[in-house]
Amino acid sequence: MRQVLPVAGTRAVRAYAVSIARNHPRMLWTALSLHALAALAALAAPRLIGELVEAVETGTTVGHVDDVMLLLAGFLLVQTVLTRQARYVSQSLGEEVLAELREDFVDSTLALPVGVVESAGSGDLLTRTSRDVDQLGWSVRWALPEWTIAVVTAVLTFAGALSVGWWVALPCLLGVPPLVLGLRWYLARAKDGYLRENASYSQISATLTETTEGARTVESLGLAGERVAALDRDCADSYVAERYTLRLRTVFFPSVEIGYLLPTVATLLFGGWLYTRGQVSLGEVTAATLYVQMLIDPVDRIVSILDELQVGAASLARLLGVGQVPDDRVATGAVPQGEKLDARDVVFSYVEGRPVLHGIDLSVGVGERIAMVGPSGAGKSTLGRLLAGIHPPDGGSVTVGGVGLTELPLDDLRGHVALVTQEHHVFVGTLRENLALAAPPGAGDDAIWSALAAVDADAWARALPRRLDEVVGSGGRALTAAQAQQVALARLVLADPHTLVLDEATSLIDPRAARHLERSLAAVLEGRTVVAIAHRLFSAHDADRVAVVEDGLVTEFGTHDELVAAGGSYAALWHSWNGDPSPLST
């Protein structure tokens, strides 16, 4: 039932990159041209030094030397100013693009279909939110600009070298084969290698974390040896992964170095040979050698940043993938007549061929309280989700007032049915923000206070130093589990749906707070239709009717008394719970 979020394809990533570039034409071109100009200014140095060497060789005056050097200093000043501007513009552009990327990602995350949110689990999404956004930040903020600058510089430096004479291209060509071959070999393996390496470090950290958190369990069960072995194993795995990437670099680095070395040597030899034949001047040979040496730095950056970009692109693909999840509901515009919730012949499976529900019929009267009981894995929670419109049924129908739940726009659905789970997340923010998110637009503090009062939470809320402005959630004031649950319940009061589906809503609460909370919950349920997936039997016995769900079917359905009288599996459970001296039979 775990659904894996998609990863965008290469084409989608490319299209997105192009669209981002198109959105900032001015900054992009400004940055590129500034970098180009800065690179051009840098090209003056080898030329001028070459000229100087030539002049010294042929005999010159101190005055000429001073002139040349002043010119060199001037170019340096121009290069400095241009570099500063170019860097500033490209770094700002990087920040802007990055902000756009992450905001788009959060936008698509917030638009994920509820069915996907409920079944995908937050692990994958959290990884994308933290690691991929980080990785992409690094790529966009650092790798991409550096790489672009390196490309511009390399192209212009090469052009500068060619301006000395066409012959310079020949020695440079010598460096291409080792460079290209090494790079192709390396890039084909690097990404997986480094991903594995990173994963191995995550594993070390995970093992260390769980050992630390479970230190007490380790001691009480005598797991020390096993834990130490696990950590040693993780280190060994990490070592294997590290050895692999080290081997990649052992081949790659020297081949690249040779790719840099060959052109320098060849330029000297070739240039020297041309000089003996009188075809080039000494200054030209010097300038050419210096240009070729100057090429090393940008080319090295181009080469070494490539795998960084590869990883960045993979992160981008994962972030864009979140936006590619298709919506699972189609709003038809039909308006429900009344508030009656009906499930008819409902069939559902998470995985094809493994149905969880095999034809459920359940008709819930307006204002009725229904308790669902049954063993784990019988399909109670799944049925609850379908009744709350989280998933569309594969067969049959789940309707409210005659309209299918998944045919309603999400905003409308929330006004009809809400699913209440054990989860009670408190967002980082003020107490007001935590509640207002569920309130209809324009609702004021009065509505929030009365919702808090309804769930019996106004006393502690008023006692907070800054009341509704108190910052809660992780890093802020810590709410107790019971208070967090009350906040969740107050949200429901504000959202005001006529029907609630409770999925073990109070099961994970501290038993000390349970009774207090049950009063809060009772207040929320007042005047609403309720389908409760019962965890404890005492909640079942107070319901109007009890549905026993076993193996994806409703096997018993009736009032508590009817079911107890019928003597089925519910009756057996009830007697045992209640301490009646009847034998336990399940």
Partner: protein, 562 residues
């Protein structure tokens, strides 16, 4: 730490020296090649010097990769050794750990501190090379021209110092940006963690707005960093550039006057450019050394902790099997060979009792006795072997399910029987690979109820003489709970079991129930006897006694059952 790996460190330094040294002499060789080969139009000399250039280049490439290999080895050795030391310390501290350090601190060691310590080892080889090559270049330069050599040798460090003042404000702005980025990441995680709520009751627009706002604030902080960073980037072009201009200027005047050759002029240009590298390495070394020392101090702080539970110098002989466990303080007797339940009006008391029975209390006392001997007088290892406490905070570790359940080297049959008793066979069926399936970190891929049943199966498979279970079924549904309660006693027959619970389904299935009020056992008997005879017990166990139930009857169709 460094002492343990001195030979690889030394080898790394050696290669670092060869590597930077060969880079340092490259300009000289190019200069010679231009002078003797090109300018003199001597083809033999040209080929010879080009050959030397090629050879030195190859030496540089080879020593470079060897240096890198040793650097990585040093890094890894240091990092893994740190992890292993910390891991061993964590298991040694056991239950003491949570009281002494936060999980976050240990986790930080596993991530950032690890990298900091490794980096010191990595950079040390390059630092050695940097020092060596600086001296080498200095010697070459001073031999050619003393004043020019001095300009280079004094000028380069001076330039590095000039960049210094810019670094402090830059680091401040970067820190501010990093803090905002951290906040932004937290907001995003917060949104993802609460996505069910947001998609369930609304509020997406509010949170998107908030994220946008923070994202833009982070962007502005980033631009503020860029404003300074770009100046620094430009200075890194400018300062070496100025230096090159000065060196070449002086060199060119010398060349005009014939004091140096044109090739030497080219070499000087090369040295001036090259020297930036060893100096940058030196600054890097200083930075990383500082960070590494901070990390090492943190590691040492954790390593210095001592477990609260010391070994007993002369332990009392272990009482015979089948001895009674008795707590003087609460008056609780856990009779050997039967299943006892303890019900408390205050859950805190239960947690505290379990801590004391398991020798986990912050301050161990002499009140818990096994066969009349205080637990504190026994060898702690022996106590751990005989009494196993499994509470609601028990962690399920990651790995192969079989290995995680079978902690005592039990057979598959025993593990499967334990799973059957814990009613966890459905978890086994649903897991890919069954017993060979993988458990995710802290069992996160399982639901709370599944995890609880697996934890129960684990202690059942361990089969200790005395088993203390705290709320073993608090997260499972009534049907499953009934099944577990029905088979638990049979599974533990002949061994001693204490269950702390308030569930009537479980209480109905034990031999004896002890009811604890305000930390003292006030009544013992069977579940039914206590239900009938003790109103306080009835109030704790059967919640219908409360005036308000969780589901007030909607339309009054049902009456209270009794």
């Amino acid at each position: 730490m460094a002492r343990g790996q001195w030979h690889t460190l030394l080898a790394g330094m050696g290669f670092g020296i060869v590597w930077m040294g060969s880079q340092a002499v490259l300009p000289a060789v190019i200069g010679r090649a231009i002078d003797r080969g090109v300018a003199a139009q001597d083809t033999g000399e040209l080929v010879r010097w080009s050959g030397i250039l090629l050879a030195i280049g190859l030496v540089q490439a080879a020593s470079g990769i060897m240096r890198h290999r040793f650097a990585v080895t040093n890094w890894l050795t240091a990092a893994y050794r740190t992890v292993q030391l910390i891991g061993r310390q964590v298991v040694r501290l056991g239950g003491t750990l949570p009281r002494k350090v936060s999980t976050g601190e240990v986790v930080a060691i596993g991530t950032t501190d690890l990298a900091s310590i490794g980096q010191v080892m990595d950079v040390s080889a390059r630092f050695a090379g940097a020092v060596f090559s600086f001296v080498l270049v200095a010697v070459i330069l001073l031999q050619t021209s003393v004043p020019l050599g001095l300009v280079v040798l004094l000028g380069v460090p001076l330039l590095m110092l000039l960049i210094g003042p810019l670094l402090a404000p830059l680091q401040r702005r970067s820190a501010a940006q990093r803090a905002l980025m951290g906040g932004l990441a937290n907001t995003a995680s917060d949104i993802v963690a609460g996505l069910r709520v947001l998609r369930g009751v609304g509020g997406e627009a509010v949170f998107l707005d908030r994220y946008r706002r923070e994202s833009q604030e982070t962007r502005r902080a980033g631009v503020a960093v860029a404003r300074l960073q770009s100046v620094l980037d430009a200075l890194q072009v400018f300062l070496p550039g100025v230096f090159v201009v000065i060196v070449v200027w002086i060199g060119a005047r010398y060349a005009v006057s014939g004091r140096i050759s044109p090739g030497e002029l080219v070499a000087f240009y090369g040295y001036a450019a090259f020297l930036m590298m060893p100096l940058r390495t030196a600054t890097e070394y200083a930075n990383k050394l500082i960070r590494g020392r901070v990390a090492a101090r943190r590691v040492c702080a954790v390593l210095a902790l001592e477990p609260e539970l010391r070994d007993v110098p002369d332990p009392a002989p272990s009482p015979p099997r089948g001895s009674e466990l008795y707590d003087v303080r609460s008056g609780l007797r856990v009779r050997p060979g039967v299943m006892t339940a303890v019900v408390a009006d205050d859950p805190d008391q239960v947690a505290h009792l379990a801590d004391r029975l398991g020798l986990f209390a912050a301050e161990p006392d002499d009140d818990v006795r096994l066969g009349g001997v205080p637990l504190t007088r026994l060898d702690p290892t022996e106590v751990r072997r005989r009494i196993v406490v499994s509470d609601t905070g028990s962690t399920l570790f990651s790995g192969r399910l079989r290995d995680r359940l079978d902690v005592a080297g039990a057979s598959d049959e025993r593990v499967l029987a334990a799973l059957r008793t814990a009613s966890a066979e459905d978890v086994l069926d649903a897991l890919d690979g069954g017993l060979d399936g993988e458990v995710a970190e802290r069992g996160r891929s399982f639901s709370g109820g599944q995890r609880q049943r697996l934890v129960l199966a684990r202690v059942l498979a361990a089969d200790p003489e005395i088993l203390v279970l705290v709320d073993p079924t608090s997260a499972v549904d009534a049907h499953t709970e009934a099944r577990i309660a029905g088979s638990l006693r049979g599974h533990r027959v002949g061994r001693t079991t204490l269950v702390a619970t308030t569930s009537p389904l479980v209480l109905d299935a034990v031999d004896e129930v002890a009811f604890m009020q305000a930390g003292r056992v006030v009544a013992t008997g069977s579940h039914h006897e206590l239900l009938a005879g003790d109103p306080g017990y009835r109030r704790v166990v059967v919640r219908e006694a409360e005036p308000e139930g969780p589901l007030p009857a909607g339309r009054g169709e049902t009456e209270a059952a009794r």
